[in-house]
Symmetry: C2
Subunit: 381 residues, 2 copies
Amino acid sequence: MTAHPQLADLPTPSLLLDESRMLANIERLRGRMAGLGVGLRPHLKTAKSVDVARHLLDGGNGPATVSTLREAEVFFEAGVTDILYAVGIAPQKLRQVSKMRAAGCDLTVLLDTIEQADAVAAASREAGAPIPALIEIDCDGHRGGLEPNDGKLVEIARRLVEGGATLRGVMTHAGESYGAVGMEAQAVFAERERAAVVAAAARLRETGLPCPVVSVGSTPTAHAASDLTGVTEMRAGVYVFFDLVMAGIGVCRVEDIALSVLTTVIGHKRERGWILIDAGWMALSRDRGTAAQAVDQGYGLVCDETGRILDDLLVVTVNQEHGIVALRKGSRAALPALPVGTRLRIVPNHACATAGQFDAYHVLPKEAGAPLRRWARFGGW
Amino acid sequence: MTAHPQLADLPTPSLLLDESRMLANIERLRGRMAGLGVGLRPHLKTAKSVDVARHLLDGGNGPATVSTLREAEVFFEAGVTDILYAVGIAPQKLRQVSKMRAAGCDLTVLLDTIEQADAVAAASREAGAPIPALIEIDCDGHRGGLEPNDGKLVEIARRLVEGGATLRGVMTHAGESYGAVGMEAQAVFAERERAAVVAAAARLRETGLPCPVVSVGSTPTAHAASDLTGVTEMRAGVYVFFDLVMAGIGVCRVEDIALSVLTTVIGHKRERGWILIDAGWMALSRDRGTAAQAVDQGYGLVCDETGRILDDLLVVTVNQEHGIVALRKGSRAALPALPVGTRLRIVPNHACATAGQFDAYHVLPKEAGAPLRRWARFGGW
């Protein structure tokens, strides 16, 4: 393997995206969902890039999930018109939601309280146009949402419908599936997701309320689900790039991870076994998602410039613009020399967090010998 | 206290900067340094804002420290001409350094290896203009740098001078002072900084080498140093805003912290004592700098919209765009109601990390009743 010749021209730290791996990751979940007969609504919060979204979305414009209104705006401008804003709605944001809907974006909001339902209904009446909402269901105690048998479920649904909003359905996210190791354990969470929203949908329909959308999803459950009866759509995000957290629970292999951070060796502390690099937490993020896993990967795995993993070498400490690379505790590998100026690549714990530190992907193209491409990404709210 | 009326118009999450607190923090260290007779070279990596730099720098343009070449470029464009790039230089970055120097920026680099010294000398010869360098000294085993008695110190200095670069002096940073609680313990690190660089400077001068600059600094040591004999300049960064990490080791009070993140309540899980907000790790960062301190502040302290701290209320968990607020473990305080739509402010663990997640400060002006100002900030490399 040789490194792409243009890598030498990139400043460090820079964010690299392996296009072939990304395309394979996209195809893998697309194929799974086609097999299960359920539509996919990719979560764009991981990539925050129109270029990546073109590959992720059906026909380049298909249904999408976002985590901020800023994402909704950017992707709507790029032609994506069916968008779920999958964070509980703050009433103050509803005016912007109505504005986007009036401009032609079929933007759906999420909620799990009576106050929010009343606010969405009021905003619908104010705009003279119903805002569609999903009710969030809790399937695993991870965060928000109503349990399917919560008395407020029907109350909230009624207030939406009677208040002038649109009840579009129910959704859940098994955030706890990120702690489940292996497909068998993840399949349990997939079934919890399915059972919770299907039960909630049934309750709504029994009372004569509509529930066209029954939405589930997380990357581990999307890859583990074997039966999605009653579910209408799957959401997942990090599957597009994968990361060490996903590899640590067996959803992917380390070789599937499409992101890495290009960095340069800037010093050594040989008596301590330290190699200093110019990627600190500003580049890698402070995410330590593998700390709770069986194998702690520090702040990331160290590869050479071609992407080949260097035995037992981790980023063990980070400051703002410094990383300290050292051997994994207990390793018998020899610390490689890696002279000052050597280029390395760091495979991140958490793709969403590390990508979020950069304003662009430098794309290693799938065609051998093709030039690097630059895909812009954005942040903010 | 009432909240600034324009806060209601800001989207959430947004980053707030209390101008009065910032100005008091700046004056506090400026007064200290004047008393000790040592110049201040503020580190601009915390603020990454030209507007903040105008207040921080002497005459608005005075000497500055940066952590990336991007910072050097932005601040040079804004008129700052005396800049120390205080991260060990990667040889690949020297062409850009020479370019900036040729344009009139007195940019100094940092190094601690023979390879770097040779690269800086070679780049100086190539540019036909000497690049000035400081040699990094290790005073506390925190990261990089040579111990003052390291044989390589004089060797590196000689290679710089004989190779055509400029030896500008020595510098150190007591990164371990962030773990020292109380001014007495921090003063020990301040003296370690001083002793290390003064010894290194003496060794260079004994061999006939120049050493005009003797640079020390960190926010804790800058506030604890009582004798800086032999030191020519102090560097510090986070003192401009302060944060919970600094408050936790007694360098400031929580009431001195100038930054907070404005957020909105988006839900409740009352049976668990949870309040959900729309600020997750994307807004607050993943920094858990207080986790190792006597009082763990979670992902930040919760205040009302006016900035008044709410008893024992912390952000205990974060996802990308969700935060979970709950009472501190063991607290006997009552969980406040905080209905959906309530605006809160989160005081961050680490100012550099949290500010780094935003593209602007919304400035609460020192003049009562004056409008909010927006100060842009930047990131990248």
